[in-house]
């Protein structure tokens, strides 16, 4: 894919800002849900839907689409918001998050919306399913790719490592695992609860191609993905270093925002902050 023009990068940064606003609005409307991880993955989901994925919001089941799996289903608000702003469904529908009868279940369910690709929430299961999909694509000589977004803490699940081993065995270079490396989980820092480091070293020893980048820098992330796509014979993991709660100053870096939504006052403050940031982006600052 062609490299990003400064103009396109600005558009994506504005889009990520809107995606964050959608996250705040939907979480406020829901009254429950996961703020920190949703916000810190807004840049990556915007980059995926806006630049990286081969997809068509009007034809979500297009056979040769790239598959995007969200393994850590609890950050569904970022996926829903990114999908809405990418044209999959009306932005207003975000306000139905977690409400009775909604397609936007608290954790994603494919049977309610095919574009979600999987049903997720129970942690550690996304890469395993992505491995199966990537294996099927190879077996059928298909060119589509599989991207699996994972949390760092779900690397504490045994099944995830069964998948890491399997993907290497089958040399699935059409499979990419993206880690939201924000160092937090419900009970605190990942390195206190159950240390993951050296994370890159673990993947290298499992025969994966390993890349790292700033997960809140859209340009850097896209460049890292494009470079990884040229690697053959190995699956790739991108350790995307993110700031939990990114974009909302009072949430940034605070693990207590892992699993709770903002109240009305906090949401208003967050939206004001995001709107001010958006004006800066539009002013080319």
């Amino acid at each position: 894919m062609a490299s990003l023009s400064p103009q396109r990068l600005r558009e994506l940064r504005e889009q990520a800002n809107l995606v964050r606003q959608g996250i705040i609005r939907s979480l406020l409307s829901a009254g429950s849900g996961h703020s920190a991880g949703s916000l810190d993955m807004a840049d990556i989901f915007t980059a995926l839907y806006g630049h990286i994925l081969h997809h068509d919001p009007k034809h979500p089941e297009m056979p040769d689409r790239d598959r995007l799996l969200l393994s850590c289903g609890h950050i569904a608000p970022v996926r829903y918001s990114a999908m809405a702003y990418a044209g999959y469904f009306p932005v207003d529908e975000l306000l139905t998050l977690r409400k009775f009868g909604t397609r936007l279940q608290g954790h994603p369910e494919r049977t309610r919306m095919a574009a979600l690709e999987t049903t997720s929430g129970p942690l550690g299961e996304g890469l395993a399913q992505g491995t199966g999909m990537a294996l099927a694509a190879k077996a059928d000589q298909q060119s589509w790719r599989v991207y699996v977004v994972t949390s760092d803490a779900e690397h504490q699940c045994g099944l995830h490592w069964e998948a890491v081993m399997t993907a290497a065995k089958f040399k699935l270079d059409n499979l990419m695992c993206i880690i939201d490396r924000n160092f937090i989980q419900i009970d605190g820092s990942t390195e206190d609860v159950m240390p993951l480091e050296p994370l890159a070293g673990k993947y290298r020893s499992f025969n994966w191609n390993v890349a790292e980048c700033d997960g809140n820098d859209i340009g850097a992330f896209i460049e890292t993905v494009e470079r990884a796509k040229t690697v053959t014979g190995k699956p790739t993991v991108i350790i995307a270093n993110t700031v939990p709660g990114k974009g909302i100053s009072y949430m940034e870096g605070d693990y207590t925002w892992h699993g709770k939504p903002p109240n009305k006052e906090q949401a208003d403050a967050a939206l004001r902050e995001l709107e001010a940031e958006r004006e800066k982006i539009l002013a080319h600052v």
Binding site: G121, E125, A128, Q129, G132, A137, E162, M165
Partner: protein, 338 residues
């Protein structure tokens, strides 16, 4: 005492072998039928694939591996991966059969089964091998006797327990062609073949293998043979004529057939190589208690674990032999209102 032959009534259309002639019976493990059915399914449809968690020989996937090497994947001892990866392959149009011992899949992988196969409605088929205490010498750790319970409770899941190796082959082919998550349960040890190639098989359709109007014995799996033998002995010894139903599909269960049997016989005995709790018999009871309660007895493992031993010895010890079935039928018969 009347003489009811298998050649009379509905049972006649089942084309069973003459199971009364013990010497002529073929003894083949039900897992062999799975192996044969899987090879044929893979020939009929190249999208049928097989994934094994390091038990190709004993789950009988070995033949498929040889016949269809490009449709076969080995992933090692990783049962959660077995389910989750199959979910991904199914999402891309494959029809994966995944095999391990029932104790480990779905025993170890239950949450993946629920989320990835059932809630997500994927076309994955579990082959649960070495189910029941008839696994024998391996002992309690390897004897799945809770698997029917944990599978039948899951929405969308089909649960099938065929009665012999011939029927297991048919079930494997039928499930391969029917979209949806499914669990096929079979056993390790040799067991009597009572059906023939002509015996019909349809998922969700219970079969009357022996006619009789005094007590209905509703059985599944390899114990269907024990039920047939018990019924014949009861007819000779007590003049009690038992209808024997091969209730191979536990989910979706053939409720009309169960209700008809209860109405016409007035008493029911269920027979399964599984815990009495929450198994096939419990499902029969759930159906009957709502619409037509009758005296009922349960044959199965009574809230305990298995142990090492010879398969036949274990079946007897845990109360699933013909003697126990006859006693249960006598109790059920005696409890019928006069």
């Amino acid at each position: 005492m009347s003489d009811t032959s298998v050649l009379e009534g509905e049972a006649h259309s089942m084309h069973l072998v003459d199971y009364r002639d013990a010497a002529s019976l073929k003894q083949v493990p039900t897992r062999n039928g799975f192996g044969e059915g899987l090879i044929e399914a893979g020939t009929r449809n190249a999208n049928v694939i097989a994934i094994c968690a390091d038990l190709a020989e004993s789950t009988r996937m070995e033949g498929f591996k040889k016949a269809h090497p490009s449709q076969y994947f080995e992933i090692g001892v990783a049962e959660q991966m077995l389910v989750a990866m199959a979910g991904g392959l199914a999402a891309a149009g494959k029809i994966p059969w995944i095999a391990s011992y029932a104790m480990f899949n779905p025993g170890r992988s239950w949450e993946q089964v629920r989320t990835i196969m059932a809630l997500n409605e994927t076309n994955v088929k579990i082959a649960g091998a070495h189910a029941g205490v008839s696994v024998g010498p391996d002992g309690a750790t390897h004897q799945a006797i809770e698997d029917i319970a944990i599978m039948r409770v899951i929405p969308h899941m089909m649960v099938v327990v065929p009665c012999d190796s011939v029927q297991t082959k048919k079930a494997t082919l039928a499930l391969s062609e029917k979209f949806g998550p499914a669990y096929l349960r079979f056993a390790r040890d040799k067991s009597a073949i009572v059906t023939t190639d002509q015996t019909p098989f349809e998922i969700g359709k219970a079969q009357t293998f022996r006619d009789g109007g005094d007590v209905a014995i509703v059985a599944c799996g390899i114990l269907v043979y024990n039920a047939l033998i018990a019924a014949d002995e009861l007819a000779r010894e007590d003049g009690i004529e038992c209808r024997v139903i091969n209730n191979h599909t536990i989910k979706p269960m053939d409720a009309p057939a169960i209700l008809t049997a209860a109405r016409e016989c007035g008493a029911v005995v269920t027979v399964e190589e599984h815990q009495k709790h929450a198994g096939m018999g419990s499902r029969v009871a759930e159906i009957l208690v709502q619409e037509h309660p009758v005296p009922m007895e349960f044959i199965g493992v009574d809230d305990t674990f298995g142990q090492s031993g010879d398969p036949v010895e274990l079946i007897e010890f845990y109360g699933m032999g013909t003697k126990s079935i006859k006693e249960a039928a006598r109790r059920a018969y005696a409890r019928k209102p006069r």
